[in-house]
Subunit: 247 residues, 2 copies
Amino acid sequence: MLDTKVPEIKDCSDCPIRHRAVCARCDADELALLEDIKYYRSFSAGQTVMWAGDRMDFVASVVSGVASLTQTMEDGRTQMVGLLLPSDFVGRPGRAVASYTVTATSDLVTCCFRRKPFEQMISSTPHIAHRLLEMTLDELDAAREWMLVLGRKTAREKIASLLAIIARRDAIAQQGPKTNSVVFDLPLTREAMADYLGLTLETVSRQISSLKKDGVIALEGKRRVIVHDIDRLMEEAGDDSDGGFLS
Amino acid sequence: MLDTKVPEIKDCSDCPIRHRAVCARCDADELALLEDIKYYRSFSAGQTVMWAGDRMDFVASVVSGVASLTQTMEDGRTQMVGLLLPSDFVGRPGRAVASYTVTATSDLVTCCFRRKPFEQMISSTPHIAHRLLEMTLDELDAAREWMLVLGRKTAREKIASLLAIIARRDAIAQQGPKTNSVVFDLPLTREAMADYLGLTLETVSRQISSLKKDGVIALEGKRRVIVHDIDRLMEEAGDDSDGGFLS
DNA sequence: GAGTGGCTTTGACACAGATCAAAAGCGGAG
DNA sequence: CTCCGCTTTTGATCTGTGTCAAAGCCACTC
C-alpha cells in the first residue's frame, strides 16, 4: 500500500485541529510563520511513520487518524507507550533521533514542521512554547495514569480501562446530548490492544468475550463496540465511578 | 516525627541544584525574582508532602533527598508513578489540585515557589518556561521507559532495571573515574520498590536474593548494594548492553 | 464459488508471580 | 540486656495469564 489520499486542507484556517494542536494559541502572524515551514503527509493504516533510532528532521501534529508510539526489546517483546490522536504532537524538539517507533494505526494525516525552524519558533514564540508545555504535561499525566493500569490492574480491568478511555474521547468528540451509552469503533487490532495493555492478544480476546458475556459491552462485528452503561464500564475498570467528586 | 533539620542553604548561589533545576538557565536578575517567592521546607523520611486531591498553592524543586509520586486505587493497590531526585520538579503549573500523593522516601528538602507568582514568571521568563519544558519532556521519556518495564519485563528484569537506573544515577552524580563497578544505598524499602515495579514485596525480596545468589549483585546490610559488573546488570535488565551504539 | 491470508476466538496446559503464613534480623526504648 | 515493632526473608500453595495449537470468520481475488 502506498500513500493514497492527498489531504484537502491547505490552509490553517480550515484545519480541524486548529484550536487544539500546538498552534492553538497562535495569532494570525504566528500562523503565517508556521505556514512557511509546514507540509502535510499521509500514511495508510499499518505504515511505519518512523523507526526508533532514525534521524528525524521534523516534528508534527496528527491531523486525522490514529498513530501509536512503541518500544521493542531485542527479543521482540513490544510495548505501546503512546496513542496519538488528532491534535497530538509527534517528536521531540531538541532531539535529532527518534526514541520510539511511530506507526499509523489507521489511515493518518500529519502536519509536519521542519525541526530546526520549529525549534527557533519555540524560542521566539511564547504562544507555541507555552502550548507545547501544556500538552506535554497532559501527556505526562496520561502516561502516569497508564502506569497504574500496567502495574496494578487485572487483565479485565485493563481492557475496561482502555474501552473507557476511547469511549470518553468519543463522547467528547461527538458532543451529543450526554447519555449513559456510547457506540464507537475500536481503532486498534487485538494485537495492538495487547501491546498497549501489556497482555497477549489471546488474553485480550478472552476478556473482551467475557465482558460481552457479562453484558458490560456488546459487539457489532469485531470492531464496533456498544456500551450501554458507562458507569458500569468505569466500575469494571476499577476507577472511581463518580469521578472522585463525592468521596 | 517532625521536621528536624533546618536547611543551611539560604541563597541560590550556594544551592546544590542550581545548575540542574528549573532555575538552571536563569541569570542573576531572574534569580532575584525567584528568591522573592521561594522558601525551603524539610520533611523527614516517611512523611507525606501532599495528598492527591489536596489544594496545592506551591510548586517545588527537590533540593536533597528522594520523594515519590504514587497513585492508589480504592481497594488499596498502589502504584508509584514517579521517583523524584534532587533537581526534579514537583507540582503542575496551571493546576490547583494535586493529582498524585507525594511522599518523602528519605529525609527531604524542597525549595518551594508560591504557585501564582511562579505561573506569572513562566509567562514572563522564557528561560524558566524553556527549562521546564525540557525537564517535562525528560520526565515523559522516563515514564515511557517505565511503561516498557511495567508492561513487558519479568520480575527479575524489573529489579535489575531499577538497580541499573539507580546505579547509573549514582555513577553520574559521583563522577569518579569510570569503572565497571558501583556501590550505592537503596533509597527505597522493599515495599516501595514493589510499588514502583508493580510487584509484591515478597517477589522483590526473592528476586534480589536470586540476583545475589547468581553473583550479579552483593549486599552489605539490607540497603547497600554492590554491583561489580554494570554490563552484566544491564544484560539482566533486558536492555541493550552496548547502549545501542553498535547494533 | 473456491482459495488465500489476515484477524479473531477458543481450548488445554504450564508456569511466573501472588497469596498466606511464619520466622529471622535489626534498631531503638526502657 | 531484653522487649517490641518494623522490615526482610523464606516456604508452601494457589491462580491468572502466558504459551502452544487449532479452528472460525471475513474480505478479497482469481
